[in-house]
């Protein structure tokens, strides 16, 4: 008897034929994924670290640890999605007038996972992680408003990412792209489980992001330190606030779109089908109601990061703070008025296209204000070209180029011409790579010393920077040309010899970008090896301006022994100049912190089980998972835990140890911040 027949009633549609045995490339990827998981698990077991990981990390509700876990998740997913990008570029370069080395079906899965991962499991976790780590420190809080909810958000996002990773082994994933347009994604045209993988992975992640949005917005509204008025917050917090507001209001649109698509697929309803009165344009409309604000969700935090960078590394206060805040708010609101520009060609009247086209161009104004503000922040400053700042400079130039192509695309007749070509692909990569990824990598380079107590190696950082930036231009500028020449996006094969040279250049760029990824990994490895040389435990390696730099590196779990009293913008900078930084040791009060909680990992696991059961139509698994969520939440509401107290002696011990580091450190001037001399104490006189 065949295994499938036996498994049938218990495993739904799941069988051994789900393994991607038909394609060597896909099989290789599945093997790498399985071996990777086994390898990591084996390593942890070998070191006997499971218990430590569970108690100190997975169940942690500390915003700093959760932030770090988000960033780790993002980097893992980034590695996968970048490799997928390389495979696609190689395929297109290879498949001019022939079929290339992967099938069209596989190619479709690649661009779908690449897009979905980059948005939902790279950009979102990355920015959520950075905000999680930095924002509470910057506003002088001990944690976010709802620490347990924070852990739940993380675990739901991780569950979604796990589902995408599982689809590598128990294939296939959707071929419907990251936007999952109906009716192609309806059961009739995509009968396999691929689209279901996409639906539930995205749903898990969007629930996580919605809860994150609530958490961040309430934290910024309600948990600021005494004296930290809204208009004294560092700009990064402003962008975090606007991003949270966008998450709050945009995510429901995605949830509705995917839920209705699921109803179509699972219960045979007619929202977006081609028959029964369904209307696929309703799907496109709903998806982009989410999709456009999403663009600003992923881009605004980077704007915040760059604002901090330009000001810190020019040793000047941010130029035009108020205008930057207002520009951020304007962008956030305007982002809800332009979604139609993603489907100019769908057949509505020219008046509607014109209205949305104009609204789209309007967004260029506040964005332009920001660019000038950043340039003027550096103007006449003593700019130090550290690695984080280099990413910022590359961003400025590259982002403006992308923005110009965006203004072109905002003109409906132009959009009709280049619609569905690689011109569009070039445009949005030209926005998102500098606008999101460079910002996040810069944030990682900038705040890494804060989180781990040692700086990252500059040299490998510069190599990574060079590879990424040159690789980016090589990979995407040709796509503008190809798009104008009429090459359709998402093509597994092309049939015009004239495309070949451009595709070869683009493939070369992709190789460079992968090398850039490798250089980032190398930088991390070398920095860990030489960490003693780069220790900055005193906590302020860059002569920082905001409150996160006023703590030790890494900060104590309670962040601030005493909540800081804020007297203006650039709070820590002013404190240092007026001698009020590093207050002397004193009698401390005990500090209440929330207890660790297993509810986050539990809900993540239940969510994953439910989603997996739904994907493969395993009824009992989906049912038990859903019931489990309900029981877990209700059961949780009966658990009463008072929280954990860090008593005054413990606080005193921690603070005394840090003060000893401060006393031992020699202040270092800004010019020498990349030397081993830098121990994290800035020379204020310089």
């Amino acid at each position: 008897m065949r295994i499938e027949a036996l498994a049938g009633p218990w495993l739904g549609r799941l069988s051994l034929s789900a393994l991607p045995t038909d394609s060597p490339v896909a099989m290789g990827a599945a093997l790498v994924a399985v071996l990777g998981v086994l390898g990591v698990a084996g390593y942890i077991t070998g070191k006997g670290k499971w218990r430590y990981l569970w108690r100190e990390w997975f169940t942690s509700v500390d915003h700093k640890r959760i932030g770090i876990m988000y960033v780790v998740l993002a980097l893992v997913m980034l590695a996968r999605a970048v490799i997928e990008a390389l495979v696609m570029r190689l395929q297109q370069a290879d498949a001019v007038n022939r079929s290339g080395f992967i099938s069209a079906e596989h190619f479709g899965q690649l661009f779908s996972t690449h897009g979905s991962i980059m948005i939902f499991f790279m950009a979102m976790p990355f920015l959520t992680g950075v905000i999680n780590y930095v924002m509470p420190l910057q506003i002088g809080a001990r944690d976010v408003s709802f620490p347990v909810l924070n852990s739940i958000s993380l675990m739901l996002t991780a569950a979604g990412a796990a589902l995408v990773m599982i689809s590598l082994v128990l294939a296939p994933f959707s071929t419907g792209g990251w936007s999952g347009y109906a009716p192609f994604t309806e059961l009739r045209f995509s009968p396999g489980v691929g689209v279901d993988y996409w639906i539930w992975a995205v749903t898990l992640s969007s629930i996580g992001s919605t809860l994150t949005g609530i958490n961040f917005a309430v934290t910024i509204y309600k948990k600021r330190a005494p004296g930290m008025h809204l208009f004294r917050m560092p700009l990064f917090c402003w962008t975090a606030l606007c991003t949270s507001i966008l998450m709050i209001f945009a995510m429901p649109a995605l949830t509705v779109a995917t839920a209705l698509l699921a109803l179509d697929r699972y219960l045979g309803m007619h929202f977006f089908t081609s028959g029964g009165g369904g209307n696929m344009m309703v799907y496109a409309n709903l998806f982009w109601l989410f999709g456009h604000p999403e663009v600003y969700i992923v881009v605004l935090p980077s704007f915040g990061v760059f604002s901090e960078l330009f000001s810190t590394f020019s040793a000047k206060k941010l130029y035009g703070y108020t205008s930057l805040v207002l520009a951020t708010m304007t962008i956030a609101v305007l982002s809800f008025t332009v979604w139609l520009h993603h489907f100019f060609t769908m057949g509505q009247s020219a008046n509607i296209n014109a209205a949305f086209g104009i609204a789209t161009m309007l967004i260029g104004i506040p964005t332009g204000v920001k660019v000038y503000d950043w340039i003027l922040t550096m103007f006449r400053g003593r700019v130090r070209f550290t690695t984080p700042l280099l990413w910022g400079l590359a961003f400025l130039v590259t982002f403006v180029i992308g923005g110009l192509s965006g203004i072109l695309l905002a003109i409906p007749p132009v959009d009709f011409l280049v619609h569905n070509t690689t011109f569009l692909v070039a445009h949005f990569h030209n926005m998102l790579i500098p606008g999101t990824l460079f910002g996040m990598i810069a944030a990682y380079q900038f705040w890494f010393p804060k989180a781990f107590g040692f700086r990252l190696e500059e040299r490998w950082g510069r190599v990574a920077f060079g590879c990424w930036v040159i690789g980016f231009y090589l990979a995407f500028m040709p796509l503008y040309v190809l798009g104008l020449e009429g090459m359709p996006r998402r093509s597994a094969e092309v049939f015009d010899e004239a495309f070949r040279p451009w595709l070869l250049v683009a493939a070369g760029g992709a190789v460079l970008i992968v090398l850039g990824m490798a250089a980032l990994a190398m930088q991390l490895a070398m920095s860990i090896r030489h960490r003693d040389r780069n220790r900055v435990r005193a906590g302020d390696p860059w002569d920082g301006r905001s409150l996160e730099w006023s703590t030790s590196s890494p900060p104590p779990e309670y962040n601030f022994a005493k909540l800081p009293a804020v007297q203006g913008r650039d709070a820590f900078w002013t404190m240092k100049r007026s001698g009020r930084a590093y207050p002397p040791l004193e009698r401390y009060a005990p500090i209440m912190l929330p207890e660790n909680s297993a509810i986050g990992p539990l809900l993540g696991a239940l969510g994953l089980a439910t989603a997996f059961g739904l994907v493969w139509r395993i009824g009992w698994m989906a049912g038990l998972g859903t019931a489990g969520v309900l029981v877990a939440v209700i059961g949780w509401s009966f658990v009463r835990r008072p929280g954990r107290t860090v008593d005054e002696r413990q606080v005193e011990r921690t603070e005394t140890r840090w003060h000893a580091v401060l006393v031992a450190a020699v202040p270092v001037s800004r010019e020498h911040e990349c030397d081993p001399r830098n121990r994290g104490l800035a020379d204020v006189a310089a």
Binding site: S145, F146, T210, G213, I214, N215, A217, V218, Y221, K222, K223, I248, F249, M251, P252, A253, T255, V256, A259, L260, L263, D264, L267, G268, M269, H270, F271, G275, G276, G277, G278, N279, V282, N285, L286, L289, I634, S637, F638, R640
Partner: protein
């Protein structure tokens, strides 16, 4: 103290407690719940938009005039509005400490009214199914079954929540945690009323015009 003072001393809309009962972090929790409700509001608004977009697409199946009825919708409205009022009294019983019996009684009454509402709706859905108005028939019915049962699901969860709170009140009485939970439950319950007002106005009444 003047008559208006109680409302001015309310530190937070929805945080209807005396100053002495409110803890600083309660404001955070209640504000967070408001944000959650606004997310829910956007969700419902989008379901309304979908309904309005697809409502005319009956695809040869029954239309609103064949499947909607005025009387049951009016009955459901009555039950839900009364339940909001009884919940209001429950929150006053909590605020002014009018005894656990009144509080629990009002919660029980709210629960009964809520269950009555759910029962009537189930009856409606079954009646619609008998007339062949299933969600698979047309886009109009799909959109209807996405919108109205989503509200139904919310009310069901609200009922579960009421039961949980009644148990927790028995177990640990009125303390900080049960208080703020009841406050949030109240917000949720009143909010579902508003959604229902939109549903009967723009689905049932509009459909029967």
């Amino acid at each position: 103290m003047s008559a208006g003072s109680a409302s001015e001393r309310r530190r937070h809309p929805g945080l209807n407690l005396h100053e002495s009962d409110a803890h600083p972090s309660d404001g955070e929790v209640v504000f967070g719940f408001w944000v959650f409700m606004m997310i829910d509001a956007v969700l419902f608004a989008l379901l309304f938009a979908v309904y309005a977009s697809l409502g005319a697409n009956t695809a040869g199946g029954p239309g609103p005039h064949e499947v909607f009825e005025l009387r049951p919708a009016a009955m459901e409205t009555l039950l839900l509005l009364l339940s909001s009022f009884t919940f209001g009294i429950a929150s006053l019983a909590m605020k002014y400490q009018r005894g656990m019996a009144l509080l629990q009684g009002m919660l029980a009454l709210t629960l009964l009214l809520g269950l009555g509402f759910l029962g009537l709706e189930v009856h409606d859905f079954v009646g619609m199914a008998d007339k062949g108005a299933l969600p698979q028939v047309s886009a109009f019915l799909s959109a209807f079954y996405a919108l109205v049962p989503t509200h139904f699901l919310h009310v069901s969860l609200g009922c579960v929540w009421i039961v949980v709170m009644m148990v927790q009140l028995r177990m640990s009485g009125l303390d900080r945690i049960t208080r703020t939970r009841l406050l949030r439950l109240g917000l949720f319950w009143h909010f579902l009323d508003i959604v229902w007002v939109m549903i009967f106005s723009f689905v049932f009444l509009r459909g029967l015009l």
